[in-house]
Symmetry: C2
Subunit: 479 residues, 2 copies
């Protein structure tokens, strides 16, 4: 039985203004707040708890692959940053720079890390001597800073939280394989933890990371059809390793240069969760990363035995789930709206009549279904229901993406879709970056997202220039 | 049967040079490395894994008390830092200052956080309106930076990792109680996770945190008798709250100012673990925070079935413990020395004869005991042995502290002990900070550690000036 949906006050409707809806949800659910530091935000408890759960899902998977966590310094001396030319050119203009310390002017500027390639390379240079020291599979959880005056919570800001993995390998094959392995791990996190189906593939030459030989990307589609670049893995070849003089004695007793990868995902994932799953009543959180998976709302809680039974149920369920009992003196109606807005996947209602019947009411956040369930064996029921909610959310997100993915056979059709239909465009491409530039300009911002691993054959020619096609590309606007 | 201890090469003996022993252990066990950023270190995988395990022990306990994690910005605008006068006076001289960003000179300097009181207060000012908003129990895991050119891994450095809790309460009683509650949580982490018995008590007026009304401290004794200030909790009263204009409407419908606490522990705890438990063979890690709790070393691993059985054992034990199997082609003797140096609490040796007899050999790192154990039910055996190791390490650390804690009845005895016996001194004190200054100067660095909660009566008069005594103090040198 589907519950009638009421719009929550203070939250703008998605269809009216998606950007304002996003801001309202972030504020109302107390996920993040602005600070007096322009471009920096405060991650509030509920928002940070989502990130902690995502971290755990990622970190567990990293460790199973033998990845080890480390922590590098926050500051990079100017001389070190300059060692790789593309790198300093790309990052220096967007860095925050420390010029004073301990009350004195510094003789060498220190950059707050925008990313830590050079710090990892400096360390690896000291630690890698023989093929026996390889592979090195290091990861770091930290914040990085890139100068930016506007803040869009979780999506754009000066400082953001992320993980950055940096690995060194004996052979190019092994490094390339690892780059793809991490891409698969990221995809698994998207699908199995966040209930989000991303488009996955390789970036074009134009869109790849400066200095990388190949960049792979994960691009989930937000509810409004816009893409979020939400995770990349890079194969670096030996560019950095050569710049830093990293060598090792191989099995053949000769000196070799190791091959490098890097890969990162950030708090943008929280933004993706909000924008893929949310609705006009607020957040809808996937069960595996929801800070509260089950909220218990007592009905007629002033009646004898209700709060005791509700507390007993909380204690019992807390052994297996993240549970909250709201026994405040707010009305049940207020509580329903509150936890809907916070996106708690499952609500339990329990009142005098339920207790008499040895049951409770369950209500799903994602689709509003509500039904009675026996208290006996409730753990197994909840486990099953949370899995169903996850699968159902993944399916719904996939449907939205399918509906908003359009095929363009030629130039005219491409421009027509770009103008009139939000979402992704699948179209053929000749391989020339000039066509990427042209389509971006003509459409006011539609860019190539990636070359998927399984390309479809849509036509024989490029949807821009009409020359013979080399690849099928996904195209779309982005955050 | 106690195993004969061999000194490990490359590690200076503790008795010869404790400081060099410490540096050697950190380097040889690959816990941390120096970086090209003066004053900053690299936390290597093995050292960082110890910190992650300590974090988990702490974070789990925090969350049980209802503490919520958040993340505040890295940078503090100068104007914000200036809001509390003692605070800016205390910290500004030791800050790193950002004066350039995005390629331009900034109009307002940004300080890299040396601690985050002002950021929490700014946020609380926006969030606290009513007694219903209290208490706020926030914590942050992050790194902070205080200008310092020398690095002593884990003990002293420009950047270090820590947690900082900042809470706001409705009444002074509640805040004071919470300050002591967190002190007890810290003590529990010391005893139950690190197997370290700290001296716990209140700091004197002279030694308390600038701006705090009361500071409590945990002071474990290192093996050489020197104290480590290894955790503090502060009761702030309403000083910061007033400076930031934080008020709330109370139950009486009047405006009130909330009462504040803060509390922090850092990666110094890793230093404490090294210096309390280590020996001339390297690290000795307490089982509950050891990255590897059990290492399996196959004997005669070329013989058929040995490696298979060892791998089977690893898979089986990994369900319950953090296990490593070393099946490299190094000799068993090399492996024994390696994992002793890394402080792995328990070693399992398994060879053809053991397999035949359905047993393995167990060897304890902390005392060298070695004995055969049946493979059947090995999980329970290991669980019990790890607990015994923990208790035994705690006991040994307590014994060391007891042996190196001396009673001084008068001034002469105090000076004699300070000169000739490393360790803590228990002595009476009049309550005047002039006596603290005098004793520190006369002894070249012996400072008051704390007033313990259970004071003994050693004499009627101050061990410095001879005036009537108010308290018994612990005294000692410190890192």
């Amino acid at each position: 039985m589907a519950q009638q949906k009421k719009r929550v006050e203070d939250i703008t409707s998605m269809d009216v203004d998606f950007a304002q809806w996003y801001t309202d949800v972030v504020k109302k659910a107390e996920l993040a707040d602005y600070s007096s530091v322009k471009g920096c935000m405060v991650y509030e408890p509920y928002g940070y708890a989502i990130w902690e759960n995502i971290q755990r899902e990622m970190d567990t998977r990293f460790k199973k692959l033998g990845v080890q966590n480390v922590c590098m310094p926050l500051l990079i001396p100017e001389g070190l940053l300059q060692k790789e030319k593309d790198h300093i050119d790309g990052f220096a203009p967007e860095c925050a720079v420390v010029t004073q310390g301990g009350g004195e002017e510094l003789s060498e500027k220190l950059y707050i890390r925008p990313t830590s390639e050079v710090l990892f390379c400096e360390h690896y240079q000291k630690k890698i001597h023989s093929y026996r020291d390889l592979p090195k599979l290091y990861n770091q959880w930290c914040s990085v800073l890139r100068w930016e005056k506007t803040t869009r919570p979780f999506l754009r800001g000066m400082e953001f939280l992320w993980q950055e993995g940096h690995t060194m390998h004996e052979t190019a094959e092994e490094a390339q394989e690892f780059t793809l392995k991490m891409l698969r791990v990221y995809e698994e996190v998207y699908r199995d933890a966040l209930a989000i189906p991303p488009v996955v593939g390789k970036k074009t030459e134009k869109e790849k990371f400066a200095g990388a030989e190949a960049t792979y990307t994960l691009e989930p589609m937000m509810h409004n059809g816009v893409a979020l670049q939400g995770g990349t893995t890079h194969y670096f070849g030996d560019g950095f390793a050569k710049a830093f003089g990293i060598t090792f004695t191989g099995r053949d007793n000769q000196l070799h240069t190791p091959l490098q990868t890097s890969w990162g995902m950030s708090t943008r994932l929280v933004g993706a969760v909000i924008m893929v799953h949310g609705d006009d009543n607020g957040l809808v959180l996937p069960p595996r990363i929801a800070p509260v998976q089950v909220v218990i709302v007592p009905i007629a809680q002033h009646k004898p035995g209700v709060l005791e039974k509700a507390a007993e149920l909380r204690d019992r369920l807390s052994e297996k789930f993240r549970v909250k009992l709201d026994d405040s003196d707010n009305s049940p109606g207020w509580k329903f709206a509150q936890y809907e807005m916070q996106g708690v996947p499952l609500r339990i209602e329990i009142g005098p009549k339920d207790i008499e019947n040895g049951q409770c009411m369950l209500a799903r956040r994602d689709n509003g279904d509500k039904w009675p369930a026996p208290l006996e064996d409730l753990e197994n029921t909840i486990t099953a229901v949370l899995d169903v909610i996850h699968d159902s959310m993944l399916h719904k997100a996939q449907e939205n993406m399918d509906q908003k993915t359009h095929v363009a056979h030629d130039h005219e059709e491409f421009l027509d879709i770009a103008k009139n239909k939000p979402g992704f465009i699948k179209a053929m491409w000749c391989g020339d970056s000039a066509c990427e530039d042209k389509l971006k300009e003509e459409t006011g911002g539609v860019k190539s997202r990636c070359i998927p691993f399984e390309e479809e054959h849509i036509s024989d020619v490029c949807a821009c220039c009409g020359k013979p096609a080399k690849h099928m590309l996904y195209w779309g606007r982005q955050y």
